[in-house]
């Protein structure tokens, strides 16, 4: 396999919150295109913190300190003059708790594209349909796009949130434990859609469990207390972890 350039490239990244807790310590990793990259580890390992740095949602927290670089397609996202809105359209986040915005299903899907300057009604409708199909929600909601997004079930809401990210036509999708509140069937539906999505997008995901990590990951990184313990090919890591701590975690000895 020919090595392609990484989409996300993290170098010497340190991150500290306002209360002086160091959330990330010297992180280095590369995310390759069209793969599912999984960040796993026990709670408070720094997974969500790292994810939120990729599209600068970390900016929303006051009093933090950061060192090092996060490059998307070779350009550091923290460089002066970076258009943060444009960055967040290219690197789009789906949150743990499904959070539709008040309004209809259609409103939710066109919100981002409209802010991005898409005026054409035909183009908006194309994006609505395409993103709903990709998130495997189209058949369930195509007849009630103007119904309130809050009327959907939990699993449908989360797929709507994924579709809402896809409607932005991003390069990278960040999924922060997207199945945490979902039942097993909805979880399976969401996981299946990931396999189709990686043809077009690069996916970085914080999984719900080690099992889920093993099911969906191409590449994986194990984080522990803000440090990157091990990173590499997922299949290898889940079968032959190189670090003792990774092995302990995978086999369920802690966490």
């Amino acid at each position: 396999m020919a090595m392609s350039d990484p989409v996300i490239s993290v170098r010497n990244l340190y991150f500290t919150y306002a209360d002086e807790t160091e959330a990330l310590h010297n992180i280095n990793l590369d995310v390759l295109p069209n793969q599912v990259f999984v960040l796993f580890g026990p709670s408070r390992a720094g997974k969500s913190t790292l994810l939120r740095l990729f599209n600068r949602l970390s900016d929303l927290t006051d009093g933090t300190q950061r060192q090092g670089t996060v490059a998307i397609d070779g350009r550091d996202v923290f460089e002066a003059g970076v258009d943060v809105s444009a960055l967040r359209r290219r690197v789009s986040m789906v949150f743990a708790i499904p959070t539709p915005l008040p309004g209809s299903i259609y409103d939710n899907l066109v919100y981002g594209p409209r802010l991005a300057g898409v005026r054409d009604k035909v183009e908006l409708e194309r994006r609505v349909e395409r993103s709903l199909r990709q998130a495997a929600l189209w058949d369930e909601v195509k007849d009630r796009l103007d119904a309130s997004a809050f009327a959907l079930s939990g699993g449908q809401k989360q797929r709507l949130c994924i579709a809402r990210s896809l409607a932005l036509e991003p390069e990278v999708i960040l999924l922060d434990n997207p199945t945490s509140g979902l039942d097993p069937i909805s979880t399976a539906t969401v996981e299946e859609s990931l396999f189709e999505l990686k043809d077009r997008y690069t996916i970085v995901m914080v999984p719900h469990s080690v099992q889920q990590a093993a099911r969906v990951a191409d590449q994986a990184a194990f984080l522990l207390d803000g440090e990157l313990v091990e990173v590499g090919d997922a299949e290898r890591m889940f079968v032959h972890p190189q670090d003792k701590r990774t092995e302990d975690y995978i086999t369920g000895r802690f966490g």
């Binding site: 309004g103 209809s104 898409v118 349909e129 103007d146």
Partner: protein
Amino acid sequence: MAVAKERVGASPPPEQQSQVKWGERIIETVIKMGGISSIVIIALIFLFLLREGLPAFLDIPLRQLFGPTWYPIEEMFGMLPLLAGSLIVTVGAVAIALPLGLTTAIYLGEIAPPSLREILKPIIEVLAGIPSIVLGFLGWIALAPLIQNLGAPTGLTAFTGSLILAYMSLPTIISIAEDALYAVPKEYRDGALAIGATQWQAIWRVVLPAARPGLVIAVMLGIGRAIGETMAVMMVTGNAANIPSFQTGFFFVPVRTMTATIAAEMGEVAQGSLHYSTLFAIGIVLFVISFAINSLAGRLVGVDGVRRSRGGML
């Protein structure tokens, strides 16, 4: 494709990026300027009070300005009777309102059945909405004759003003007292009940002391509000600028407050005269009193605490 009708509100219209950045910068600047407007306004208020009132402080010796005789026609501008008037009416109002308000709060919180409480609370809230001029009007036309019939030489007295003011401040005091009582942990009362106290003793011995800090702030703010009340007080206190003494009947004599003096006399003074700037000087005293009370309350319980104490209405 079955596409929704566009709904207004939740979805933005498309926007051109460059326009967005510029428009946004202007809007945010306006918002930030609006944000500091409160500071600017309070500074302006003080500045304009000073501008008009400073001559009084410069031209009248302080001993005279705070002296015992308010007789503007003879150029005697002693604020003491007015300060005394405001003080008596205010202290009287608090003395009436506090026990009434506290007791009502305890009644509402501990004794009244929920259905009755749902009826009583809105009625008390309505009281807060009645304009002071309407209460003043009723005090003047109905309450004062009533008090006179009880044997006083006149119905327009400090007591009448206190009574009206007390009712005006009751909604606030009741709501603060309810909050304060509600904030006392239930274990306190249950603990007291367990060792054999009756409900009433539990409230009296345990709940009230625990609620005291909130009540202190309530009284402070109540005083601030009462000192500033104008129309109702002006109509029912008789407007006599005397320092009441025990010989003359103290509480049951006409008095004149600072606020009433400004309201009654400003219309008749020549602009720029000494009398005119003395009225502004009274305004400065009122401003300083209110500023001191509110800043102190803010220090003690924080700005949010003050806000809550005013029942969220500020």
